[in-house]
């Protein structure tokens, strides 16, 4: 094998196996903990009262009544308190639209071309965003950061642990799949239409996605063709040249990258399902979906989650037909086979996803559905974990999963419930009582030199 061939083979090996920017996450120091006598929503639709939760070696090892433990366990009495899995937000722009919202760190939209599948949100993240710590006090243990919605295909999203660190790789959720942000409707056609370029219409949007997928199919078939060759043939042939945009789109067609599609109107979501079928890829979730309730059964038939707000509306024409029962209707589609997620898209909302779920649940009950609080808890725990591709690791209090756990002062469906303690991988990340909370470097000495930005 000549050096050249060896080299090109290596490139190709990277091509399929390439995992640059791999997670280097390391958890905080942990203890073995027994949370005693808690009321529990497990994120699997169950409620347990006066029940113990056992955390050992960073994992959930048991859930049950009167669990016996040795003296080496830290025992936390959670009588009259509530315990849930760590809350997960499937739609965040923290880090890419950090606070303060200034032009110099407005890094969420590469609005220079309608298709920018080559950009990765993780390369925009400002790790000192002071908003992560605020979200932590709302029980957020993991969140999915997306590029914005200016583009038809906006680039890759990334799922992170809510532990502020000095590099992005050290915040990345280990083994979480990459995602792809796509956007329907008003935003892309406004951004590019205003510049007298395509797309300026919804039909222009549809053409734009399809053209990209046609390119991606051709790229993938060149890859497949090359991969199918014998080792000898590979040695004499050249590997196809890598293309960052096509890497991402081919990753979707191969089922390795999850599609998260910003889309408000019912008929546009249906069109996007047609396009996904035409090119044989899967849409994991529609985001915002103010009209998801109009096609709830269609979403359920296609196993597509609706990542939705409880009540946002009216800021755009495509957000005009809001109903507060949207989330419940999506949840209850096909007799309860729907996948509903409460998302925030907002640094305030992410701190109160429990309250947003509470509003959505109440609206569902008023619309006549029979939905338990335990099930509604899935909307902000297991369902977003599934949509982020991390459900095998977190999102519910199943034995064997990461000990991502929140202790609440009251029932989390109440506005008066405060987060008392947050564990990420069995380690205390926030403890209200002992005033144990992170502060980013941004927070240090910025108002008065001797203090952090927020001192409680």
């Amino acid at each position: 094998m000549t050096k050249l061939i060896k080299y090109s083979f290596l490139i190709f090996a990277c091509f399929i196996e390439a995992k640059p920017f791999e997670s280097t996450y390391e958890p905080l120091p942990s203890e073995n903990i027994l949370i005693r006598n808690a009321n529990i929503y497990d994120g699997e639709g169950n409620e347990f009262n006066e029940t113990d939760l056992l955390i050992q070696d960073r994992k959930i090892v048991a859930i049950g009544k009167d669990l016996p433990v040795g003296s080496e366990f830290l025992i936390i009495d959670a009588s009259n308190k509530w315990v849930t899995p760590g809350i997960i937000d499937i739609h965040s722009h923290m880090g890419v639209y950090p606070a303060p919202g200034v032009s110099t760190s407005s890094d969420g939209n590469e609005a220079t071309s309608p298709v920018t599948a080559d950009v990765w949100a993780e390369h925009s993240i400002w790790v000192q965003d002071p908003q992560y710590a605020l979200a932590l006090k709302g029980g957020i243990t993991a969140f999915h950061i997306l590029p914005g919605s200016a583009n038809l295909i906006g680039g890759r999203g990334v799922t992170v642990k809510n532990l502020q660190r000095n590099t992005i790789n050290s915040m990345k959720f280990p083994d979480a799949p990459h995602s792809l942000k796509m956007a329907c409707g008003e935003n892309p056609k406004r951004v590019y239409g205003n510049r007298q370029q395509a797309p300026s219409t919804r039909m222009g949007n549809a053409a734009g996605y399809r053209k990209s997928w046609i390119q991606a199919e051709a790229y993938l078939s060149r890859l497949d063709e090359y991969e199918a060759k014998s080792e000898e043939a590979k040695e004499i042939g050249y590997a196809p040249q890598r293309d960052l945009e096509m890497d991402t789109l081919a990753g979707v067609l191969r089922g390795e990258i999850l599609v998260h599609n910003h889309c408000y109107r019912a008929e546009e979501m249906a069109t996007m399902i047609n396009i996904a079928n035409e090119f044989n890829y899967k849409i994991t979730a529609f985001h915002h979906g103010v009209e998801a309730y109009k096609i709830a059964d269609l979403l359920a038939e296609n196993n597509i989650c609706g990542a939705l707000w409880a009540d946002w509306w009216g800021f755009k024409h495509e957000a005009y037909d809001m109903v507060q029962a949207n989330i419940a209707i999506v949840d209850q589609a096909l007799g309860g086979k729907g996948c509903a997620i409460v998302h925030s898209d907002d640094a305030i909302g992410i701190q109160h996803l429990n309250q947003e779920a509470s509003k959505a649940l109440a609206a569902g009950l008023r619309a006549g559905f029979d939905i338990s609080k335990a099930r509604a808890m899935n909307w902000i725990t297991s369902n977003p974990a599934k949509a982020a591709g991390i459900y095998d690791q977190t999102g519910s209090l199943k034995v064997g999963k990461n000990a991502d756990v929140v202790i609440w002062s009251k029932n989390p469906f109440s506005v008066y419930a405060l987060v008392e303690r947050v564990f990420i991988d069995g380690a205390t990340a926030y403890d209200r009582k002992n005033n144990f909370q992170p502060a980013s470097d941004f927070d240090v000495g910025i108002i008065s030199p001797e203090k952090n930005r927020i001192e409680e």
């Binding site: 606070a99 303060p100 919202g101 200034v102 002071p130 908003q131 605020l134 006090k137 008003e186 309730y293 109009k294 709830a296 009540d311 946002w312 509306w313 009216g314 800021f315 755009k316 024409h317 005009y320 037909d321 809001m322 109903v323 507060q324 029962a325 209707i329 640094a347 305030i348 701190q351 109160h352 309250q355 509470s358 509003k359 649940l361 109440a362 609206a363 008023r366 619309a367 006549g368 469906f413 109440s414 506005v415 008066y416 419930a417 405060l418 910025i446 108002i447 930005r453 927020i454 409680e456």
Partner: protein, 423 residues
């Protein structure tokens, strides 16, 4: 002297008295938070015509009885910072009537108000019975007039025209805030110099503008002049949006110098200068759920702000983070309580305080003789999951149907029919 706003109020009351319900309504056995006093009590409220005619723990008689046993009764909620009636769809300028390029200080949104806006039934079904609707900020640091509207959907507007002026310091502007304060003071100096005689004719006003460097530079119109005159002479409430602690202090100095009826909105750093705010008795409109240091003016943003300010004796009112759902001041109030504010204080901030600060007449409190804007809740009104069961505006039992409730029905009932043929 009867101020202009009071004159308007007087007319409004005459109008209300014309609509008398034929039968009285007795709300019986409700848990009453009256908006003013600290303790709830179980009692009865008699509504006669558009007024509350009795509030009592003793038995009362009425023509129509509504049993509110176990239910909370509050005054109608008043939202103090909205675009209700002047913005239908945020991103569609053809549905917006909230800005003017021509008028800088006297710009009024009153005549643009649309009583048929879909925002009205929606916010009303969530407990908002009246609103202060404010324009966008104009190019001037003070200017733009907001109005008070009762959300009764009557095409003949019920409200108080131009009862508040707005303004802004800091934020996104590129110019120095020092320039902003200078313009503000120049305008106030000019306003103080205006004599009522100066406005007797259009020509007089135009001459005055020509003689004033600041009025000329800012290309003011006689309409702007009248608004400035009212600001100084009619004690017109002035809501200035400002957040940075140093800006709040400067505004307090300006208030004192010109004897302004100042209210500060935003006030994210009020906690750093709470003593001064309390001393000078400046009410605040804050968003208790907003703890994001969204700009370099708001670094001290803090979820415990509402409770901290309440303990300093500062009068608070609330606004909401997102357009269209102005009723979310209830959720904000709940968050304020969760983080240290008193329940009664939070309720007062969205009922009686706006009435007292903006002179909105006999509203905001469940008391004999007041206008009957009342809500019977299905649960705690500060829980965002709660909803009104009954809403009374001007004593009238309001239908709670909204476009949203209609769409919900459309997609949860009669699903065998194609959607176009459902109700």
């Amino acid at each position: 002297m009867i101020s202009q706003s009071k004159k308007v109020l007087f007319l409004v009351f005459i109008f209300f008295n014309g609509i008398i319900n034929s039968e009285s309504i007795l709300i019986q056995n409700a848990t009453i938070y009256d908006g003013k006093n600290n303790n709830a009590f179980v009692g009865n409220v008699l509504v006669d015509g558009n007024k509350i005619s009795r509030v009592s723990t003793a038995n009362l008689r009425g023509d129509k009885i509504i049993d509110a046993t176990g239910k909370i009764l509050t005054p109608g909620i008043i939202s103090t910072d909205t675009g209700i009636g002047i913005v239908e769809i945020g991103a569609l300028s053809v549905t917006r009537d909230d800005s003017s390029d021509l008028y800088k200080i006297g710009f009024s949104i009153y005549d643009a108000f649309n009583p048929n806006s879909v925002l009205i039934p929606w916010n009303r079904s969530n407990g908002i019975t009246s609103t202060l609707t404010l324009p966008q900020n104009t190019d001037s640091p003070i200017g733009g007039l907001g109005s008070f509207f009762v959300l009764d959907s009557n095409l003949e507007i019920t409200g108080i025209k131009d009862n508040v002026m707005i303004g802004r310091v800091g934020g996104s502007g590129g110019e120095s805030r020092s320039e902003t304060f200078s313009i503000m003071e120049d305008l106030l100096e000019f306003a103080s110099s205006i004599d009522s005689k100066d406005m007797e004719s259009y020509q007089d006003a135009a001459d005055l503008i020509d003689d004033s460097p600041i009025a000329e530079t800012m290309e003011l119109h006689p309409r702007d002049l009248k608004a400035l005159y009212r600001l100084i002479n009619d004690d017109l409430p002035l809501i200035i949006k400002a957040n940075r602690a140093s800006d709040l202090l400067k505004l307090i100095k300006i208030k004192e110098k010109y004897d302004l009826n100042l209210i500060i909105m935003g006030a994210q750093e009020a906690g750093l200068v709470a003593n001064k705010i309390a001393e000078s008795d400046v009410p605040l409109i804050i968003n208790p759920i907003n703890n994001i240091p969204e700009s370099f003016d708001e670094l001290a943003a803090n979820i415990e702000l509402a409770g901290d300010l309440e303990r300093m004796g500062i009068t608070l009112m609330f606004n909401a983070p997102r357009s269209h759902n102005y009723h979310l001041i209830r959720q904000g109030a709940g968050v304020a309580v969760a983080n240290g504010m008193s329940y009664e204080g939070a309720l007062k901030a969205i009922t009686l305080s706006p009435v007292e600060i903006f002179n909105l007449g006999d509203r905001g409190q469940i008391a004999q003789g007041n206008i009957a804007d009342l809500i019977i809740w299905d649960a705690d009104p500060l829980e965002p999951s709660s909803m009104p069961e009954k809403v009374f505006i001007n004593g009238k039992d309001i239908d709670l149907t909204s476009r949203m409730s209609r769409l919900t029905d459309r997609y949860t009932k009669n699903k065998d029919k194609p959607n176009g043929y459902r109700n």
